[in-house]
Symmetry: C2
Subunit: 231 residues, 2 copies
């Protein structure tokens, strides 16, 4: 019997690679997409398509309106998305795209989902670039959540294994892209831009687009992202 794994799938570049990686390693994938009042529905459509292409066992899309809390440019439209930041500065400070306690909220929801499906793993697509800027992407944070998960749940108390898998943690964006290409990920589907337009076209100037563009460049892979004309 294959190992059941909950994969947190945003529909972006990292988590789409993660989903293919989990499948390639024989996991029975339960994909969980948290629709937290992001700026754009195209991300959710991308997640749906990626889940389908990966033939997942189940895909749950859970809406949660984190804009009620505010405090992030990703959920609060009154905070402007940063544009054209020099690439070497990205990750040096906690950016305004930081959603308060986001990974804790996402991992908690994944934990509840995992428990009901008897899944013994949760896969999270955090990586090097994230963890330099976001506190909840660092290895010591992941370790603390793993300890918590064992204490928090019925299955944990009963001694079942529950692991948080973060196989992208030490990879650069270009290494993730190379990995994804080797797994056959179609990056033209994935969406990562913080400021997608109504047609699902990426801006090309936000931190996420800049990192993604640079990743394709470094990987020597043609960038299939649908950008707007002024990108």
């Amino acid at each position: 019997m294959s190992t059941k794994a909950v994969v947190l799938l945003s529909g972006g570049l990292d988590s789409s690679t993660l989903c293919s990686l989990a499948k390639s390693q024989g996991r029975e994938v339960y994909a969980l997409t948290i629709n937290y009042a992001q700026r754009n529905v195209h991300e959710i459509d991308a997640a749906r398509e990626i889940a389908k292409l990966n033939d997942v066992a189940e895909h749950v899309i859970l809406p949660i309106d984190l804009s009620l809390f505010g405090g992030s440019s990703l959920t609060d439209k009154s905070i402007a998305v940063a544009k054209d930041v020099p690439i070497e500065n990205i990750g040096k400070e906690i950016p305004n795209s930081y959603v308060p306690a986001r990974n804790t909220i996402f991992l908690s929801l994944a934990l509840g989902y995992a428990e009901t499906r008897n899944a013994s793993e949760i896969w999270l697509g955090v990586n090097q670039l994230d963890y330099s800027g976001y506190p909840d992407c660092r290895p010591e944070y992941i370790d603390a959540f793993t300890r918590l998960a064992k204490l928090a749940t019925k299955v944990g108390v009963e001694g079942a294994a529950l692991e948080i898998q973060t196989p992208l943690l030490h990879l650069t964006k270009s290494e993730i892209i190379k990995l994804g290409v080797s797994l056959g990920v179609d990056y033209s589907i994935t969406r990562t831009c913080y400021d997608l337009d109504e047609n699902g076209l990426a801006c090309g100037h936000c931190e996420s687009c800049l990192l993604r563009k640079n990743g394709f460049l470094e990987a020597g892979v043609p960038d299939p992202t649908p950008y707007r004309n002024d990108a």
Copy 2:
């Protein structure tokens, strides 16, 4: 300046007592009610009324449909609520009203809310009776979450204090009721029944009702709960 505290307020007996206690100790209260597809809207109305009576700084009601995961009699209508369990057996096993990872999900959301409001405390109404039955109510769980919270957040990384307050943890139901009465809590408003009817009347037979009835009896306080005729 008074300390800002996020209080997780379900509108039940415990969290309503907690909310009054936080106010009585001079906290500026940010009440957070998670509407997780419970069986009844009367609980949300109770939370709203309790928040108003306590003159909180803000009350956020966050809907999240945990019935998408299932696995609990509180969110999954196909699982029957246990009735007329002998009171001495309640808390010996994990009951089917256990919502997978519930407190982890609630505390994570409270953490996100606390961070955006610069609150340095999260108050949670777990108590002795809960922590014998639910894994995520035990003191070692609360300690693990506190460690996680410091690693998870921008404020935590920057060194700000963030404490999880659980002042009801070692109290019995009757002690909580005596405390609440001394603080002027109107328990006729609060709702705890797992099987409320459409008029907001309690069943009198579920585990929550049995514990509540017994608590009022032991406290020597008349039970103001609106029960159905057959309770």
